[in-house]
Amino acid sequence: MKARLAAAFVRLFTVQASWNYERLIGVGAGFAAEPLLRPLREGDAARYRAALARSTRYFNAHPYLSGVGVGALARAEREGVPAEQIEHLRDALAGPLGSIGDRLVWAGWLPTLSALALAAVARGTGLWAVAAFLVVYNAGHVALRWWGLSAGWTRGVRVATALQEPWIRGAARILTPATALAFGFALPLVALWSGELFRGWARITLAVVAAAAFGLLRWRPDVLSGLRLGLVLVAVALVAGILWR
């Protein structure tokens, strides 16, 4: 069984490769679940095919936590849980697995480490900061993926209890202020480091334009994105730069 779990774990790293508007990560989840469902084929081929078909249907989750669903649903199939109950579990898991993952990873672990890495680069640590970011981030990433698959596979239909484990609440509680603290710490250091490229009027212009642009982004977030603002600013600067002789 360990080999099948390992195969499913490796496949989970590709869970979004066939992301689509119809089934979201359903096809990828089915692909990851297949090694866990394979023993069904030996006993009852029709049951295996029905289970595989179900496993490819609509599913959504944060990619790092998708293993919770893949493991739990495959376990339920293996234990012969009725199809309606499996479909119900699939629907019930999608929301929490998305929101918990977004909160823990996209809005917590990732921005915290990214901000710390930016601060470290601004302080002159260079490539070491980038290497440390990759190692530390992925230690958490791989551990979370493995925990998800093991928790799902071990608990099956009772997987909801895994999402109530104290460490999840604790991590969310710590990561929210940690992210804000890291961002706050990094911002002045990065601003200062970015300004080092310029002298005299250019540095003053940088501060004024950055402040005005920030104001615009806060004022009209519905119209302006960072990309749009960037394109407008560089277009204006490009014309000014060509005309200024």
Binding site: Y21, G30, A53, G98, N138, T179, F183, F185, G195, G241
Partner: protein
């Protein structure tokens, strides 16, 4: 650039693939993409400079589910190449090329999702029949499409680098390039700060942001 082109194309493709398809290990993060491109070109300083700049732009987006967003990974790869070949004060030109590539990357992601949706709809009967071969082929095809997408976006971005250096760079004076660099850096700082505020939100976290700001200012002041 022709000597480094295959390595840049390969790295940009890996970066494009990492964003969504596999393995999502944050190789697509601008700081990482930029630093490695800098290593490839023997210009780590430009790699880190552009990596930080595009990382700030990246804070403006939260890549959740089906949201539309620009793709800053391959954009950073081509921006570092532009900065390297444009010479001193190439940050501005590099940002122009990078932002256009990011926009192109975002559009290509939408196209990829639509192509995947079409392929899934076509394969639906086989999937519903539990055909493991069809499932594997469908998933591998999605992966291959993203591989091609990453390569195409990087190649187009590198093409933009060549055109920019050939036609735009000679039109800029030293003053002009400085104005462009100021505009690019200001936009990145503004986008980063606005994105940070959006991620942090309101309430207690805002207080922690203030505490961090004070700490950062003190450290910057002491250095």
């Amino acid at each position: 650039m022709s000597g480094a082109f295959p390595a840049l194309l390969a790295w940009g493709t890996v970066v494009g693939l990492d964003l969504v398809s596999m393995p999502q290990m944050m190789l697509a993060r601008p700081l990482v993409a930029g630093a490695v491109t800098g290593l490839v070109l023997g210009d780590v300083a430009s790699g880190l400079r552009l990596g930080v700049l595009f990382e700030l732009f990246q804070y403006d987006i939260l890549p959740v589910g089906a949201t539309r967003y620009p793709e800053y990974g391959p954009a950073t790869v081509v921006a570092v190449a532009a900065a390297h070949y444009a010479g001193p004060f190439g940050v501005g030109l590099a940002t122009v090329v990078g932002l256009f590539t990011a926009m192109l990357g975002g559009v290509s992601l939408q196209m990829l999702r639509r192509l995947n949706t079409r392929a899934v709809a076509k394969a639906a009967p086989a999937l519903e029949a539990g055909d493991v071969g069809a499932l594997a082929r469908l998933h591998a095809a999605g992966w291959a499409r993203d591989l091609l997408r990453g390569a195409a976006v990087t190649a187009a971005g590198l093409g933009l680098v060549v055109l920019t250096i050939a036609f735009v760079a000679p039109a800029l004076t030293h003053h002009g390039e400085r104005v462009l660099s100021v505009g690019a850096t200001a936009a990145a700082l503004a986008a980063g700060a606005a994105g940070i505020l959006r991620i942090v939100g309101r309430g207690t976290a805002l207080r922690w942001l203030a505490v961090g700001l004070v700490g950062g200012v003190v450290v910057a002041w002491l250095s």
